[in-house]
């Protein structure tokens, strides 16, 4: 029930080739880290896996279904089984944490439940449980615009954990957190995947985090797979080649390209 990509290509409207023929087969329960320089195509790849971007070529099979072949209803049901942690938390600033977390199951709830939950949260215990795992339980009823970038990122993570997806995807889920918290959070993602036996794919900017926590590491370079190896077999030469454009290897200790006080929270215009 994992997923498989065969010759997946994606060209943006402006002619940029984001993915140039990606083959990737991942079995159910595998845990895979995506690494590579910024702009290599990690985010695009994850969004294709989340069935939210339609590739311009190739074949996508996710959890036993083909998202772009079936009807919209089937696509919607498939999407509700896939959870993607976004790099910048896609949460409205004026929403409360509890509502933001409960929104994870909107794809599984009947509409009446979604409406009722807006008035009075239907499952605050469930939301609190996921938040507690991220050490955020006491902010259950806080408003999201009162949180720091790292806290907001944990709320977004709690939402996806609450969704309980069969395919757990994460796009740089710790970019706004300090090294210690990053370590804990990546460990938590892995623990969740192992405990529930689901597939996990996470892109990480910090190479050491990826190598320490994931059995399988995929290097992405210029929209294609550069290597796909067990973590132990990833050599320094491979990494140097992967990050040739950036100069140095990005490590969890010093994360270049991360805005210091966290990502700017979404602001309503």
């Amino acid at each position: 029930m994992g997923f498989s990509l065969e010759g997946v290509r994606l060209t943006h409207a402006n002619g940029f080739h984001a993915l140039r023929g990606v083959d990737l087969h991942v079995a159910a329960g595998e845990r895979v880290a995506l690494i590579g320089a910024s702009g290599a195509g990690k985010t695009t790849l994850l969004r294709v896996l989340a069935a939210s971007l339609r590739p311009t070529g190739g074949r996508v099979r996710l959890l036993g279904g083909e998202p772009w072949v079936d009807s919209p209803r089937v696509l919607r049901r498939l999407r509700s089984r896939i959870g993607l942690v976004h790099q910048s938390p896609p949460i409205p600033p004026r929403q409360r944490v509890v509502t933001a977390v409960l929104a994870g199951r909107l794809g599984q709830w009947p509409l009446w439940k979604a409406l009722a939950s807006l008035v009075l949260p239907v499952d605050p215990e469930g939301a609190a449980r996921e938040l507690a795992r991220l050490d955020m339980a006491e902010r259950l009823y806080a408003r999201c615009d009162r949180l720091s970038g790292g806290q907001l990122q944990r709320v977004a993570l709690a939402r996806v954990l609450y969704q309980q997806p069969e395919l757990l995807l994460a796009d740089e889920p710790v970019s706004a957190m300090d090294p210690a918290l990053s370590e804990l959070t990546v460990a938590l993602l892995n623990e969740e995947a192992v405990r529930r036996g689901v597939t996990l794919v996470a892109s990480l900017h910090a190479v050491d985090l990826a190598l320490r926590h994931f059995p399988r590491v995929v290097g992405v370079k210029e929209g294609a797979i550069a290597f796909d190896l067990p973590a132990a077999e990833v050599t320094e030469a491979l990494l140097r080649d992967l990050y040739a454009a950036e100069g140095a290897l990005p490590l969890a200790g010093e994360m270049p390209g991360t805005p210091a006080p966290g990502l700017p929270p979404l602001r309503c215009a």
């Binding site: 409360r96 008035v119 009075l120 949260p121 215990e125 609190a128 507690a132 339980a137 009823y141």
Partner: protein, 273 residues
């Protein structure tokens, strides 16, 4: 892990919802809210007959000539009304502007005469725009008789109040230093206005006036409902005779006129920006 605290917003939300429901009831009663009235046989028949007459719209040459005349009258009413309102707005707006006060330059405390005058101007403007233009029109129709004159005066008075207030605000919010320097150098208020304030404020002033002209077109369309000429008067007559065909033609003219005024005003303001 402790059980999560109860939702702190639950009780206030319940309270506000109940309050809203309690307030909604008198609202529905006061406005006599009966959607069923729309489907009563008598009303349905009247409306159906009237709407049925919409097609085809009236296109008899003499009616179209009347329509054209009323349209021109409406536009003329709006234009003349704005011109009249500026006669009121410019002096009162200037009177309101603190940046042009000589007594505020000091030394010593600001002149009380100036303050009283400014307060008075503010009050006059508030009364002028506080009474809706249609009420003014209704009153003027009684003095000048039916026709566009009442509409022009009504527009002039209400829009004079609005324009005067906004002119004053625009002049207040523009950089006062150039005017201040001129006043300190001993120039008169008019010179300070022309060389100190206007260069920075002119664009905004003109833009707002154009916008008000657009509003005036909308307003003069309905002036006729109280007998003050223009398209409204024609519409009123057609409605009273339940002549659907004529009403349809007039409504179409409304749409074209309002959209054209909208477009022209938008175009002019973009050109100015």
């Amino acid at each position: 892990m402790s059980t999560p605290v109860r939702d702190p917003a639950a009780l206030p939300r319940l309270g506000w919802t109940l309050l809203a429901l309690v307030l909604l009831w008198p609202l529905l009663r006061l406005t006599d809210f009966r959607p069923a009235a729309l489907f009563e046989a008598g009303n349905l028949q009247a409306m159906g007959h009237f709407l049925g007459g919409f097609l085809p719209p009236e296109t008899a040459p003499e009616f179209l000539a009347m329509l054209a005349r009323a349209t021109v009258e409406t536009l003329a009413m709006a234009t003349a009304g704005i011109a009249l309102s500026m006669l009121l707005a410019v002096p009162l707006g200037l009177l309101m502007t603190r940046s042009l006060s000589i007594s505020r330059l000091g030394p010593g405390r600001g002149g009380w005469v100036g303050q009283i005058l400014r307060g008075l101007a503010r009050g006059v403007l508030a009364v002028l725009r506080g009474v809706p233009e249609l009420v003014w029109a209704l009153l003027f129709v009684r003095v000048f008789g039916l026709g566009a004159a009442a509409g022009v005066l009504a527009l002039g008075i209400t829009y004079g109040g609005m324009l005067g207030k906004v002119y004053g605000e625009i002049l207040e919010s523009t950089d006062a230093r150039p005017a201040r320097i001129l006043l300190e150098a001993g120039s008169g208020r008019l010179a300070a206005l022309c060389y100190g304030l206007l260069p920075n404020a002119a664009q905004e002033l003109v833009s707002y006036t154009v916008y008000r002209w657009e509003c005036a077109v909308r307003a003069s369309v309905v002036m006729g409902f109280v007998g003050a000429g223009g398209l409204g008067q024609l519409m009123d007559q057609s409605m009273k005779m339940l002549n659907g065909g004529e009403a349809a033609s007039i409504l179409a003219t409304f749409l074209v006129l309002v959209l054209a005024a909208d477009g022209l005003s938008g175009f002019l303001r973009r050109r100015l920006a």
